[in-house]
Symmetry: C2
Subunit: 523 residues, 2 copies
């Protein structure tokens, strides 16, 4: 296959009409061929209008048809073969094994949404029995979920497959019956093009309207703002920086018709070292923490950028073990020059902060991420908001607290987070119980005796959390729950059976779980 640098609009390749750019190889530090072409406002508008026109047909497909489409997208991605992995390696600097794993994750999550569709309870079908004899009579009421409409998806830089063209946002939007207009990330446009071709082939093979999917290529903020502002777009999925996410939230809120934005933005994922765990497992935790911090050069949304410990037995052992483990790592290529530059700047600011001491800091190398660990006191952390900000990469801050009460006070002062982790022993449970209500208010996922990196794609996963970890803490962007972001309820009152959607008809022809007068039933 050949990468041509084109966008996909209306099921066909189309050259962007507004200038060109090239991908960057962060390992060799050079531009990659070919040139990619930026789409024009007219092309953005057309992609959105086609998505709007495709919506009614797409959402009218059966659960089985959409599941088959998702399976076909997965097959087409696998059919690209090794070219996909090689191009993604070039564009991201990520190792083969990671990208092969990420491809499997991408394929599995497409199939997971297929399974969800076939099971059918995502429709939240509800039927209230009419009571014609009551005064006033109760009508026949039935409800089911439908898709919101075309979704603008912004691919992430740090998952060129699993949070990109056919990643979790796209899969969950498709599952909900929503067409997707995808803004490719300019750091991996070739990878995006290959996957976009796979999706386009699946659209064709399944005989869906061509407007169900479009890939827009380009750099800068203009495309995203035009996309989110377009009247046909009804929701936004985004993974990226806090500034990028909040800018899109502002555009969405300022529209004539405001729309929901699901932006996953910024999290420092506090790890709480409870006293008995620290005393008993300080060295082990230090090593485990360092491994999680440096995994993938720290380029995960769930990277543990904050550690809290009560001063006491084990703390110095933890510091020693973590420092030793970090110093044994090597600076490694980051996803893009921009990310590497921001990381270096963030680390330098921490090192220069008068309230902070440096426990470990590898030497800076251009374009690479060098691990770093800093230390501060709870008082200083509480007083300095700059210490609460995410530094995207393998850097973390240890906050030393006087006691468990002060640890809770720090937790209470945190902004919203994707995760919080507890290192606990049985003797810590009482303190943990006091801390848990605070954490439940602050984060989407609470872990015990593990590390936050590694986000399982499953039914119970929550990859989300209160602002600013995401734009909308009512949601998850990973796992089956992600479909709920793109759904809304519609109620039908006294509609004749033949005008009702199949999910709500008498006799339950889809054989799905439904609620009758509130009670779950498959009858």
């Amino acid at each position: 296959m050949t990468i041509t640098g084109e966008a996909f609009i209306g099921g066909a390749r189309e050259r962007g009409g507004a200038g060109s750019f090239k991908a960057w190889d962060p390992t060799l530090r050079d531009y990659l061929e070919p040139s990619f072409h930026m789409v024009t406002p007219e092309q953005i508008d057309r992609a959105c209008r086609l998505a709007g026109e495709a919506f009614d047909v797409f959402r009218a497909t059966s659960n089985e048809e959409r599941a088959h489409f998702l399976d076909t997208v997965a097959e087409q991605i696998l059919a690209i073969g090794d070219e996909l992995i090689e191009r993604a390696m070039l564009e991201s600097g990520l190792p083969r094994v990671r990208l092969e794993g990420e491809r499997m994750r991408t394929v599995n999550q497409l199939r997971m949404f297929g399974t969800l569709l076939r099971e059918g309870s995502w429709l939240d079908a509800r039927l209230d029995t009419p009571l014609p004899e009551r005064t006033p009579p109760r009508p026949d009421l039935r409800m089911r979920m439908i898709g919101l409409g075309p979704v603008a998806v912004f691919a992430a830089s740090n998952f060129p497959l699993a949070f990109s063209v056919a990643g979790g946002d796209t899969a969950s939007a498709f599952a909900a019956g929503c067409p997707v207009v995808l803004k490719a990330h300019s750091a991996h446009p070739g990878t995006s093009e290959l996957v976009a071709r796979a999706v386009t082939r699946a659209v064709q093979e399944c005989e869906l309207p061509a407007g169900v999917f479009a890939l827009l290529t380009g750099t800068g903020k203009g495309i995203g703002q035009a996309l989110v502002g377009h009247p046909a777009i009804q929701a936004v999925g985004f993974t990226g920086s806090r500034s990028g996410g909040t800018a899109l939230m502002a555009v969405a809120a300022a529209r004539k018709q405001p729309i929901p934005v699901y932006a996953e933005m910024s999290s420092i994922n506090p790890v709480f070292l409870m006293p008995h765990a620290l005393e008993r497992r300080a060295a082990e935790i230090g090593k485990g923490f360092a491994a999680s911090l440096t995994l993938g050069v720290g380029q995960f949304c769930t990277n543990p950028g904050l550690v809290l410990a009560v001063d006491g037995p084990g703390l110095s052992d933890f510091c020693a073990a973590a420092t030793e483990a970090l110093q044994a790592t090597q600076a490694a290529v980051m996803l893009s020059q921009g990310i590497a530059d921001s990381y270096h700047k963030g680390v330098a600011a921490l090192a220069g902060n008068e309230a902070v001491s440096t426990l470990a800091r590898l030497e800076h190398e251009e374009g690479k991420g060098a691990a770093a660990l800093f230390r501060t006191s709870a008082e200083d952390f509480l007083a300095r908001h700059e210490l609460h900000e995410e530094v995207f990469g393998p850097a973390s801050v240890l906050v030393v607290c006087r006691d468990a009460g002060q640890m809770r006070q720090v937790a209470e002062a945190l902004e919203g987070q994707l995760t919080a982790t507890l290192q606990i022993e049985r003797e810590d449970y009482a303190e943990a119980k006091a801390l848990l209500p605070v954490l439940e208010r602050k984060v989407g996922r609470i872990l015990a005796n593990g590390y936050p990196t590694g986000v399982e794609v499953s039914t119970a996963m929550v990859h989300g959390g209160p602002f600013p970890s995401t734009a909308d803490g009512r949601s998850t962007s990973v796992g089956t729950g992600a479909i709920n972001r793109f759904l809304r309820p519609v109620c039908y009152q006294n509609l004749p059976d033949e005008l009702l959607p199949e999910a709500l008809r008498d006799g339950n022809p889809l054989a799905i779980w439904r609620r009758r007068d509130g009670a779950l039933t498959r009858d």
Copy 2:
């Protein structure tokens, strides 16, 4: 009992410190005693902070405890007795029978949420079985919903009981475990005070933290803006005007931490007269429509402010029947002087619109709503946005279309609505099928052969719809689904059983429906 004109903060009466106002009797056109006192910024802040402090304790109550609390609120409302009905009649001008019915609705919906809590599947509990042998191992993941935090609720003018102090927003927020800071509507402050006392007694009887509920009294926009802007507030429920709702949306979006707003604002609830129904039942539909239009002096969010018909047999009979029925009505007292003035202004603007002809118009009377029906063409309706705007009261516009295609075109041009109604016969089903996908995108509830006024409180009801009918079309403010507005998911990874919430523990101690690896089970 005596109405004292005070607010309720921290479980105690407290005189507002910022000036006073009186309620207005729209029937006698005079002020009512006593004076009510407006709360100060300090009082607003204190109410919100107490709500924040009460949240963890309140949400930790069991399903049964919160259900009992809701039942107790219901009992306490009934215990007020006739004083409540009499004061509400004075303040709203609504008749006794309507208010007695509304009280029953209010009590029933509190109890309905109690039943929902006892059933337990609102928790959306999910458990994923750990796979320790897999590479990488799958952790133990469990998820449940928790409340968002304190909710600011703005009482509606048009339902002094069912959408007010202990109305649907408050009941669903309480059910979700969220404290409520309630802004009383200045049109019925005495009614609000009586119900606030009932809620406060229930809080005391159930030994809940006093911050679970507060009633703020006052007029103007300042209180609402301070309330929505307060950092402790995590969501907003509002029923009122489009300008009021969008102003609160702007405050919520501009916060340091943006929060969700559920504002129910503006809807003209189109009624589609399909050709065969019109031909066969023109007179009956004309009468039924006029009755729905004038019910409660047209002061319902679901009032049918728009009728669409294809020019043809029956149209003139419909117009004659509707006109005759409307002319047989009488102008009646509206809820407030402001509503009556706005209505009169809206009707006068329609009557003066050069694209509109007047079919029926009762004579204006000060403070009253006089029914009116206007007629325009589809072309004019499409060209003039002012004809799409809600006129709150018993006025409607008939839009005459050339054919079914043009009717669909008008439907496509509508803003988001709470409801759409189809008058259909079997021979209209084909046309209805073509129209339904458009309506599903535009509205929250689709009715056949009925009228949109009358909103059942049940499991399958959707009282919501795309913007601007509500701020957030993903939700309903009536029925059990209303609880979902105030919930968010939290996931627990590898937490020891004794640290897990009861809903997620091994052995299912609450005996609720849960999902294990995606499949619903009660085991």
